[in-house]
């Protein structure tokens, strides 16, 4: 069954088109990754799917029902974890979860039990009486999730839930996503961290400039670039890097340079490692290591758009 089906969705803000004729479907039981750089249109799409924004054009269905015509049904089925923390600092962790779960129609003992279960799920049961102001960033993020799952939604939409948190909390949240999926929820996970999407998602859509530019499983997406190889060269400094000359070497597609790393995407069938090394040495770039890498979603995005996911 399609948990979410988006058909030819467009959203315009004045003259600016944030989402452009976008279509996708999410099947029941999937962890669906929605990957794209900041400003690509992920959040706008998600906000339309959760009825926070109206679509300029197109149609959205949740479990086969149009969300405009069956608004209450659609809202009841969705649990939404916003990108920013959406909790009341003047209410305890328990009160926060209790309040939001109550809006979904839970009452009495069932409401209490659901609130406690949600807090247990995110590991905050022992802090249920504490106010969020005493929580770390990671704990607040977990509370943010608990508020969205207490009513046991069939579809959970997480909008960049790991932004700005420590690695330990990030791992906790990623594990929670897997657990939620195992207990029966379908997950839509948006992120601009390709490692996260690669780690947990079974199906992935890559969005850029409001359009889906690639969709499929990890293997399917990487297959797009099986004719590509990625060479990572560690250098002392990239100050003297002959960027244009590197790009002109036969087979080289893209060159990305950080402080001490050069990432080169090149055609797999052309052996151009020697001319690349020779050019760098001749330019006075001191080489400290060379590594051939497996293609990643980052490489896929780079190949498809010519930019990295973290580009503004």
């Amino acid at each position: 069954m399609n948990m979410l089906e988006i058909k030819q969705l467009t959203k315009k803000f004045g003259e600016y088109t944030a989402v452009d004729n976008l279509s996708l479907s999410v099947q029941e039981g999937e962890i669906f990754g929605f990957l794209g750089p900041n400003g690509a249109g992920k959040s706008t799409t998600i906000h339309m799917a959760t009825s926070l924004l109206s679509a300029t054009k197109g149609e959205i269905e949740i479990m086969g029902r149009n969300i405009t015509k069956h608004s209450r049904f659609a809202k009841q089925a969705i649990g939404f974890v916003p990108q920013d923390l959406a909790i009341y600092e003047d209410m305890t962790a328990y009160e926060n979860v209790h309040f939001f779960a109550g809006l979904y129609g839970l009452r009495g003992a069932e409401l209490k039990r659901s609130a406690i279960e949600a807090l247990e799920f995110v590991g905050l049961a022992d802090r249920q009486g504490s106010y969020p102001k005493s929580f770390s960033g990671g704990m607040k993020r977990r509370l943010n999730i608990a508020c969205a799952i207490a009513h046991r939604p069939k579809l959970i939409i997480m909008d960049e839930p790991t932004v700005g948190i420590d690695p330990q909390s990030r791992n906790y949240i990623l594990n929670s996503v897997r657990k939620l999926n195992r207990r029966g929820s379908t997950i839509i996970y948006t992120s601009h961290y390709m490692e996260e999407v690669e780690e947990i998602c079974s199906q992935i859509a890559i969005i850029d400039h409001g359009k889906i530019i690639a969709e499929g499983t990890k293997a399917e997406l990487k297959a797009i670039i099986t004719n590509q190889k990625n060479i990572s060269i560690t250098v002392r400094s990239t100050e003297r890097l002959p960027m244009e000359q590197l790009k002109s070497i036969v087979g080289v597609n893209t060159v990305e340079a950080a402080e001490q790393t050069i990432n080169i995407s090149s055609a797999v069938e052309i052996n151009n490692l020697n001319p690349i090394i020779q050019l760098l040495v001749a330019s006075g770039v001191e080489i400290r290591g060379v590594e051939a890498q497996e293609p990643s979603l980052e490489t896929v995005f780079l190949t498809l758009t010519g930019r990295t996911l973290r580009d503004e």
Partner: protein, 364 residues
């Protein structure tokens, strides 16, 4: 149910003891400071002119005669001169009263006492009438009015015993500061939706199966109850801490205050939806300060003239204060409905504006 749930959440502010104390201390201190510092604006002592009263005694009852004689002795001891209008017609007597030679004219008969006072001697008439009323009450007599005053136009009128009741400084500022503090709640109301937006909880509310209308209603009901409780505490504190006079019809006074709370919340929401962010707060602050100044929050405005008098008519504080003071000091319960209708009428307009703007907007 969701409206009540959202309204209940608004009431959790009462758990913040520090804020609660601050919210209560501000009006109470303002009442005390303004009431003490500006008590000179309220007449604590009144200069009374010499009182001379003509009377005619027409009773055949010896009991009434004895009582009247005793009364004359007591009045004389108080410096009030009662002179019998012997061999003079009532027309002449009334003329003397009209010309200000006498404060009034009393006619004592078996059925009771009739009194006519000179309208130019309001305070003095009040005293005489008070004394006569006390006498009548003591001896179960009645004070009646004959048709004489009507034949003499409006010049000779019966003075009201209650006319001398006036609010003291603390009494006035208990009312004025309370109505002013209520108007300040517009600032909180202006931030009601903005606070949800800044905390991003608006997203969570909107994705839940709750309509915008329910969210809007829940927030208004919650804030209304919060402010009503808060105002009730202030009224009771001023009544029992400072002995401020809130009159004998506290329920009606509270109804007027309640409609002013509705007006303040509507004003905040209306401006909050018209202007975003800090602009709404700034505009509200200007409106509230202006309304407070011309509405008599810092000094009574009932004696003002010209532009100030004109502007004061458009301040909700003025019409609310006026109605409440009328209820307390003149027992005029009919002063309440016009003020309440003005408050509610303005509220409906402002709420309608907020609702139209809310429906047009994406999100809250």
């Amino acid at each position: 149910m969701n409206i009540l749930r959202i309204a209940g959440k608004e009431l959790k502010v009462f758990r913040d003891i520090k804020m609660l104390l601050f919210m209560l201390a501000t009006p109470v201190l303002l009442m005390l400071i303004l009431g003490t510092a500006l008590s000179g604006n309220f007449h604590g002592t009144v200069k009374v002119d010499p009182i001379r009263v003509l009377y005619s005694y027409n009773s055949t009852s010896s009991a009434v005669g004895k009582q009247w004689e005793a009364f004359l002795l007591e009045a004389k001891a108080s410096g009030i001169r009662f002179e019998e209008a012997t061999s003079r017609t009532e027309t002449d007597v009334v003329k003397d009263v009209q010309n200000g030679l006498y404060t009034g004219y009393a006619r004592i008969a078996d059925k009771g006492i009739s009194y006519y006072g000179n309208s130019g001697s309001g305070k003095e008439n009040g005293i005489v009438q008070g004394l006569l009323a006390a006498l009548a009450d003591r001896y179960r007599l009645t004070i009646t009015e004959t048709g004489l005053s009507a034949s003499n136009g409006n010049y000779v009128t019966e003075a009201s015993v209650d006319a001398v009741r006036q609010p003291g400084g603390l009494d006035y500022f208990a009312v004025a500061v309370t109505t002013m503090i209520i108007l300040y709640s517009a600032l909180t109301a202006g931030q009601l939706i903005e606070t949800e937006r800044s905390r991003h909880t608006d997203l969570r509310l909107l994705v839940s199966p709750v309509t915008k209308g329910e969210i809007f209603a829940g927030k208004i009901v919650g804030t209304l109850v919060l402010n009503a409780i808060f105002v009730a505490i202030i009224v009771l504190l001023s009544k029992y801490m400072f002995g401020a006079n809130w009159g004998e019809h506290l329920w009606l006074v509270f109804l007027v205050l309640l409609t002013e709370i509705v007006l303040a919340l509507s004003l905040g929401l209306g401006v909050g939806y018209c202007l975003k962010g800090n602009a709404a707060g700034s505009v509200l602050m200007i409106v509230i300060q202006a309304a407070a100044f011309v509405g008599g929050a810092y000094t009574p405005v009932d004696q003002t003239t010209g532009m100030m008098n004109f502007l004061s008519r458009y301040s909700p504080l003025h019409w609310s204060n006026d109605a409440i003071l009328q209820i307390i000091y003149a027992g005029n319960l009919m002063a309440a409905p016009p003020a309440m209708m003005l408050n509610l009428g303005c509220s409906i307009l402002l709420l309608a504006l907020a609702i139209v703007l809310m429906r047009r907007r994406e999100g809250l």
